[in-house]
Symmetry: C2
Subunit: 203 residues, 2 copies
DNA sequence: AAACTTAATGAACAGTGTTCAGTAAATCAA
DNA sequence: TTGATTTACTGAACACTGTTCATTAAGTTT
């Protein structure tokens, strides 16, 4: 009989319900306001129930982090059609920045906030991040094979590129871009990105 | 009579005592563990007393943030002896990274954590950050006058440079550098910095 | 000595993450 | 169908958190 199956399905549904509520509150009111009690209230369960489906608060945010990586992967997927590796690399940078600006909460969870990283054991750590970085390294490697970045190691180049994109993203997300003059502030990420691409072009 | 003077001195001393305790706990056990009660316990005062000297928890961290900027300013001070602006710019980058790696807690407070920024009113916001960025823009401007970064706006260049350094710093501080291969991880910031300087050189 | 000022307290409030004994419903075995 | 067992869920309790405020005690002034 399918009782067990139904039970497992219901269990999975509640797990998903918790995650949706957590995401909604997190996106609406921020990390601090996303408490176990607030999540429980919203789905009309008691706080204790949350712990039947998630080890602790951190692991809820870890699940949301993975959701963020899934979304980023999906968006990166369309870049497969770009044949030229350097063009693909540039499109990746643009898309990465776009993702960060449009999904600052996800970005924060994926690349800034410490909480979802506490969940990771010493062994299997941050697989999603590793995979994403590998994709970047591979593209850079292809660029190298086509004659770009002469005399530079692919992983090193990938790291510098990632750092610059990540720096722009986090300065913006964490409110440190007030230092930019008014007329440029709105578009500084795009301007900065273009400048950086020019630097990549001439190396 | 100097009673009033003494009183004010004592008041200032307690303010300083609170800040020292807050800094120690923050550096030892991190942001989450730095509670008002823990601070009060350490200096053997009641929690209420803290609020006679600081508006709230955020403003304690704001005071620590300013301390961080003071330290960074001091370290940057020695670079005044470097006459050539491009050499000074490169030294600034090195020093900025060194500061971030040696004082990750201060760096976090200055450039990542949101809390000390909540204190800022809409008007006078993040003066220390603004001043620091201006210093960078000025050095870049000098470089431009010497023929560097042809056709590029100084503020834009400064932003890209800052983003890259900030990106490297935060990836490291927030534990996102596990993706780098073992043999490079230890020195990736230096390797990355050198690669970036080469990019600056050929633009 | 009395009046006033100031500094410090610590209990109280409303919140937090997390645990766990207890309950009630659903399922299984006889 | 009844009794035993498993399962899902509850909500009170614990030890915390930031913050406020009436009360107390000490110091200063008149």
């Amino acid at each position: 009989m399918g009782t067990k199956d139904r039970k497992e399905r219901e269990k999975e549904e509640l797990r998903e319900l918790i995650l949706r509520a957590a995401k909604d509150i997190f996106f609406e009111k921020g990390y601090a306001q996303t408490s176990i009690r607030n999540i429980a209230d919203r789905i009309e369960y008691s706080p204790g129930t949350i712990y039947l489906h998630y080890k602790d608060k951190d692991s809820i945010f870890h699940a949301l982090q993975q959701e963020g990586f899934k979304l980023l992967r999906q968006q990166f997927g369309v870049l497969q059609v770009v044949a030229d590796p350097f063009e693909r690399l540039k499109a990746m940078g643009r898309l990465y920045l776009k993702f960060a600006m449009e999904n600052p909460e996800y970005y924060d969870l994926m690349f800034v906030i410490r909480a979802p990283m506490n969940v990771l054991e010493e062994e299997a750590c941050w697989d999603e991040g590793q995979t994403a970085f590998n994709v970047l390294v591979n593209v850079v490697q292809e660029c190298v094979q086509q004659g770009h970045f002469k005399g530079h190691d692919a992983e090193e180049m990938a790291y510098v590129i990632w750092s610059t994109m990540h720096g722009m993203a986090t300065l913006s997300i964490r409110g440190r871009c007030r230092v930019i003059s008014d007329e440029k502030r709105e578009t500084i990420e795009i301007l900065g990105y273009e400048t950086f691409v020019q630097m990549l072009n001439c190396i």
